[in-house]
Symmetry: D2
Subunit: 348 residues, 4 copies
């Protein structure tokens, strides 16, 4: 195997003005072949700087999960074993605590299908995204479960009820990753000047496209225009496993007209998989990026990762707002796209 | 905006042995922070070389889509306009043909919700993934539609029924991107020696984890272990817009025991968004990679992109097969993962 | 087996005022244990009579489907056979036409997963809902397909891609049953007087509850409050197979504020499975009900069933509008519910 | 409003042999226009009587839910209020306990989208299905929540995150109704003689049709052939609100070959909405049916409803097994269907 690197075009955009989980102003890095994304995010970053509190981000929850699969002879056995495991929460929590300085068990959720028992473990994992920590814990759990329940057979360390890098409903409902909401209240004049649109038109478009359009497309727990673009670019620039955009991009844009034409605009991201330590995070350029983002500070456990999650959520809001505003105007999207691609490096 | 690059660790893996859309042997490039993916794909590539026809890939369909949104006063008007547009397929096709050397209109699908009319255009786009070509066509369509139907208002160039970079049902059912099936028939002895498992155990695991587990997770038209990982790595290495892994990773793994313990194993990928020309594809290192992959040859229109799609589908199969085989054995996953991460650069 | 009957409480409600597919006024029958549904539908029926055009219904499409499953040795074979079948559309259509006076083949849609070939046949079936007609056609198709393609094996007459009595995405996207949109424009004063609410509050509630709430619930191509209630009651009263409410209840409520507080309100029902002939329709009391509904007239083929579909769609709109209006007011739902249950027969 | 009744053809089928939640033999009532269902369920009932333990049913969980919607000014407020409510679980539980003899609060689950707060309350409700009890509790909760949190406004008593009579993911994952698994182990000879098939063919068909076919259809947390049919018929005959079949029919059939061709066959139904008291249950004929089913006995709270749920789950298994077995044989389905419809009353 010959090793090399693939160099992804990267730019720092902003700064964004922030409040809530993160305060002040912060530039953000976006690594992407789709370079028109840079000025697009930049436009809404400018909007954020025209608003007192900028973009406010609230972190709702954090956890990493792994679901293991056991095979019983009967459903009766599977259900009984599932109940017994849930009742031994403290034993399982002790196992995790003994194994890791950072991981803590916070939930055990079971589901039975016929004779199959799925057990979904949820852990907090400090500043790591926590995939390895949680997989390691699951491996140890399996040892114990098989010892406690000889009537069960090993099925799989992962039973797809986790769910890792798959678009599912379970992650949003039971939680996986950091859950974040980013929101902004934009005065009517700023909407008109900077976004060339109005609160009513953006709110209407959000209902028609993101909510109704996604519904007929058969989307699942998701209603947004393009979270995946911002997530990919931010994930790549910060050493995240970007395959997680599959689940992280499931989120909901919700907007309201407030007062005399002001725009309330929010992006809800229940499944932000992010970490500031762990695999990929000690590559020198990643380390540098995380430092510049203020995610290498001394904080309480998980604090750097929460900061990173907040920055990503705010960046997603910027890209989403710019695109929706552009799509309220016929021909604006393609025109700006072509101009921007040309600007971004004359590559076309 | 200061520009730089994010260097993603990249390795060439294989070669894979191939038949069907692509014949012969071919190494493939994987750009990822998750470097254990390299030996994992490599293991199944070795399996493919132990089988006469290796991995056979069939390309089923190809198209790119964009759905535009129009707003009528009534459903009656929206339905009537939708029918009229469908009936003018030839006019719409002529508009596309006049505008582009490569794009050809192949389908117009309408759906009405209340007074909202969604029109989903499908085009073939040669060797491009076709996002820009299709968006440009949609923009021109909108001009014509608004002229033909003054009772309609512009809603949005994209109504999310496309669906771009979102996990939905419509893409698999109506098509988006290249649709590919990769399959292999592996003798029992090779399954045992190379994959340390058996056909029965892999087939059972596929049913329990990928089909049943994905079902309870609330997955949507998707049943696989980790297509997203291989797609991300291959997309990044070849200049693709990797945000498309959100839709491309919706696919189904299906396995059967054949004869005396041989394994039939297949990966069906209905939404492979790939191109060999267009945005990002003329970056020098991408050009080099595509050349090495044999995707810079003189072929009929779309032929290079189909080759690329086939290589990706085969690579997805390799990664999927290796992971499933590993998960049939308790403790194999984590053990090999840790060994491989250590090997891959001593980064942990 | 001892046979008896289960007597479901039934009431005629309305009349509803109608335009579009059906004109004039018409009472509708609702058979249900949930008798508060009667005055609830009745309230919006009264609203419809206060509006010039009442509820306008547009029928968008009609078809019945069955998907058969064939098993090949390889995906390559399955894809080839699928293409060959699609190309023989005329042969397949001739088979249907020879077998039935009413059935006509209108679509053949194939999908391949690994070595499995799913073929979804769509037929128009006159005034029947068409399950038996379509199953019979599929049975005959299978004979021919197996004769034409000895490389295929019989898999199943139904491969669940139909999809019958299951909530899926395919039915809405490719069509199954009658597709209908019901809509009404209600003056602000009528909204205030009759529905004790306002257009803005109903529109907002629809977005927050039916669109956002359904999204986080993980609904699939569906955004409504309780279509299932009206469908069940109407289906039972008219001899329909009411298990079809599973798919028929997947629909979308969409509302807008128009002018100075007028309410545009619509219900889109893409999968109304209804028939006026066939199984259950010649029971004497069903015959009487269908006659009273004007669905036993001499009309062009399918005309009686379309009339029935339109009446059902309008009834669904009535029940949906009343409930949403009630839910805009704290405590109205339960209060009216309890009063109504008491009124409806003193059964509690 | 003139009241009448709709008489649904009804037959008692069986008896089924049962173990687990219910022991012994029991006939079951099916009210349906689709009378071929009677002998179809009857066939598998006969199978159950040829197996020692018959069909074993395990009840996994029971609860009824209602989600209320509150509107805040900001996500920050909504998240804070949601956390505060969860922390006041004991206060909320006391409110329920004071209001009802039977209802007990067991879970409060919150989810925030932008400034919208959804609160999903779960209660046990004794032998009632519990819709009214839970709605009444939610109404009282809202009073308290609005008093505790003046920063919140009333949104809706139901925010569709309940989810009532809608096919969603949340009900299966967080629970709604009784959750039941029915299973049977059938010797190879019985499969051959009674079902005219083999364990391997039935297990294969289940994977290909119910799992793979449902996946490509875009089904949601559901993989079965026709649960809706049995549920409708049983619900109608026992005074249940049959609109609940929409959610109740989301379930999973899972089968395995055991030993030398024995068939393990299971039906998992996570959302059985059933009650033996409450609306509709004191109609004289319903009372008689419930008595005959043994659901009018003195049992611990919820015991009669659990018995009813178990009988329904076992009946669903019977219908599902018969249909799958029939579909393994080309032409068996239609042939038996036509014969049976003729037998069932000469109506065709």
């Amino acid at each position: 195997m010959s090793q090399t690197v693939t160099p992804i075009p990267t730019s720092w955009v902003g700064p964004l003005r922030l409040s809530g989980e993160v305060t002040g102003e912060q530039e953000v890095p976006l690594a992407t072949y789709e370079t028109p994304l840079w000025p697009s995010v930049g436009r809404s970053a400018r909007v954020s700087r025209l608003v007192d509190d900028g973009i406010r981000v609230t972190i709702v929850d954090e956890r990493m999960t792994r679901s293991s699969l056991f095979v019983a002879r009967t459903a009766a056995d599977a259900v009984a074993a599932g109940s017994a495991l849930t009742a031994r929460f403290d034993d399982l929590a002790a196992i995790v605590a003994a194994q890791s300085r950072f991981a803590r068990l916070i939930d055990v959720h079971t589901e039975v299908v016929g004779n199959l028992l799925f057990v979904r473990f949820a852990l907090t994992t400090g500043d790591a995204s926590g995939h390895n920590m949680t997989t390691l814990a699951a491996e140890t759990f399996i040892d114990h479960v098989l010892a406690w329940h000889p009537e069960l057979e090993y099925g799989s360390i992962s039973g797809n009820y986790c769910s890792d890098k798959k678009a599912t409903a379970v992650n949003g409902i039971l939680g996986r990753g950091r859950s974040a909401v980013a929101e902004i209240l934009i005065p009517a004049a700023v909407v008109a000047d900077q976004l060339r649109s109005s609160a009513q038109r953006i709110a209407d478009l959000n209902v028609r496209k993101n909510l109704v359009g996604s519904t007929i497309a058969g989307a699942l727990r998701s209603a947004n225009a393009h979270y995946a673009n911002m997530l990919l670019a931010f994930y790549l620039a910060t050493g995240q496993d970007a395959a997680n955009i599959v689940e992280a991009s499931q989120g909901i844009t919700y907007a309201e007209v407030r007062g005399e034409g002001d725009l309330y605009f929010s992006c809800t991201l229940p499944n932000l998989i992010v970490g500031t330590v762990g695999n990929g995070k000690d590559l020198p350029f990643v380390d540098e990026v995380l430092t510049r983002l203020g995610c290498r500070e001394e904080r309480s456990s998980g604090g750097n990762a929460r900061r990173l999650a907040a920055l990503i959520a705010a960046t997603v809001l910027c890209g989403e707002l710019s695109l929706l505003a552009a799509q309220t105007n016929h021909k604006e999207l393609m025109a700006s796209h072509l101009v921007l691609e040309r600007k971004a490096g004359g590559r076309r």
